[in-house]
């Protein structure tokens, strides 16, 4: 099992707006973790700081090689699927390899990007809204893959899709007011949708 991802006292401000206010968390391999919270709560900022793409004002992150995947609209606009994969050092794609990226549908692009992110096998895989634009069977396939790969790496998914959170996540982090609330669920005690919705409701009262 890989080393856990340790996030300690992360602070981040945009101008005079404090997005993260000393966020702490330990994310272990072996479990899929969902990161949820209202729009603007700092979910993407937290993931990008963990990936080293953004700089925190203070705080530390420790763990293995991190990969952040932000969605199909961040894929290159030119080239074929195989050229895209080749640039990342991945083997050719047998089925859709010759297709131009710009000619793929949103869902297909999302699938191509997710496949690459997963195949690159980072120690920490951060997925931002991974279920966006995916068809139901692709979502089910992704969930199966996430459960499979999580046994030896940290998998953290940011989303608003509570149905997928309930299906796949074992740990849930609710981010609000710059701090995270952690909820751990065992195999017999799956996340409850109403409980998660209430977290959103409560956060709006603050």
């Amino acid at each position: 099992m890989n080393m856990p991802l340790e996030v300690t006292a992360l602070h981040k401000t945009y101008g005079d707006r404090e997005v993260l206010r000393g966020f702490n968390g330990t994310f272990e391999s072996g479990r899929v973790t969902a990161l949820i919270g209202p729009n603007g709560a700092g979910k993407t900022t937290l993931l990008r700081i963990i990936a080293g793409l953004q700089r925190a004002d203070s705080g530390t992150v420790s763990g293995g090689r991190v990969l952040y995947y932000g969605g199909f609209d961040l894929l290159p606009s030119r080239g074929t699927v195989n050229q895209f994969r080749h640039a990342l050092g991945l083997p050719k794609h047998a089925a859709d390899g010759a297709r131009q990226l710009r000619q793929l549908s949103r869902g297909e692009r999302q699938g191509v990007g997710l496949d690459a992110a997963i195949e690159l096998a980072p120690a920490v895989l951060l997925l931002d809204e991974p279920w966006t634009a995916l068809e139901p069977d692709s979502r089910a396939s992704l969930n199966e893959t996430l459960r499979l790969i999580a046994h030896d790496r940290v998998v953290l998914c940011s989303t608003h899709d509570l149905d997928e959170v309930i299906r796949v996540a074992e740990d849930v982090v609710f981010l609000s007011n710059g701090l995270g609330t952690f909820k751990r669920h065992t195999a017999t005690e799956m996340p409850d949708r109403e409980e998660l919705v209430n977290l959103y409701r409560e956060s709006r009262k603050h």
Binding site: T44, R48, A51, L53, R55, S77, L88, A116, L120
Partner: protein, 228 residues
């Protein structure tokens, strides 16, 4: 598990963060120069034109692409910011700079140690400024203003005559005006009529913006979609 080796060159091409048009243009100008030389002409225009195009070719928009999140997967694949900057620097500045310099020299330029040094400082300045300015979003403002100024100075009769007089060494304006002319048309500093201190200033300025661009790129906040 050891990650597969990513290819920054291929990724830069896919994300359009590398200007390839410079090379066919260079080949076309080189052919034109060879034909001109065969006809007994000095054909220096091709070299000057390539030097003019160099900062445009060097302006890759690398940081804009990285800020927008287009490099996220590449970084996730194990590429470092520092290595990516060096790759972009080599492919966007060094290689086009060598091509432009070679064609400029082949066009009939009288190569001496002093003239080669002057040429090097000008390439460092124009390519360095183009690379650094193209690296950030200001390429759409400051970079274009600079390029338009360069165009204007050779299109406006008074600007052209000032440059021509300076090149012939007939009259040297004051330091301030000379500095402005060198900033707008640094190629003037290749000739011996402009004091060497302006070439030195070009070298220092070019090296400074290149160093700044490295520091800026390796420390920038890459905010992703928020930047769009």
């Amino acid at each position: 598990m050891t990650p597969p080796a990513p290819s920054p060159l291929r990724w830069l091409l896919l994300t359009r963060a590398l200007n390839l048009w410079f090379y066919p243009v260079s080949i076309a100008l080189a052919i034109w120069m060879i034909v001109g030389r065969a006809a007994g002409q000095r054909a220096t225009f091709a070299g000057y034109f390539l030097l003019f195009l160099l900062p445009i070719a060097a302006g890759t928009g690398l940081l804009s692409a990285a800020r927008a999140g287009e490099m996220d997967l590449l970084f996730g694949a194990g590429e470092t910011r520092s290595h990516l900057w060096w790759q972009a620097f080599a492919l966007s500045f060094v290689l086009p700079g060598i091509v432009a310099t070679a064609i400029f020299v082949a066009g009939g330029f009288e190569l001496t140690l002093a003239s080669a040094a002057r040429l090097g400082t000008v390439v460092c300045f124009t390519g360095g400024v183009g690379f650094a300015a193209g690296l950030v979003e200001m390429r759409y403002t400051a970079g274009i203003v600079w390029l338009l100024t360069r165009l204007l100075i050779v299109m406006v009769p008074s600007g052209l005559s000032a440059v021509a007089a300076l090149e012939r060494g007939q009259q040297l304006p004051g330091p301030f005006v000379t500095s402005l002319i060198v900033v707008a048309a640094p190629e003037i500093a290749i000739g011996p009529s402009v004091p060497a201190m302006y070439s030195g200033a070009c070298l220092l300025a070019g090296a400074a913006v290149i160093a700044w661009s490295y520091h800026h790129f390796t420390h920038a906040d890459l905010v992703g979609k928020r930047s769009q």
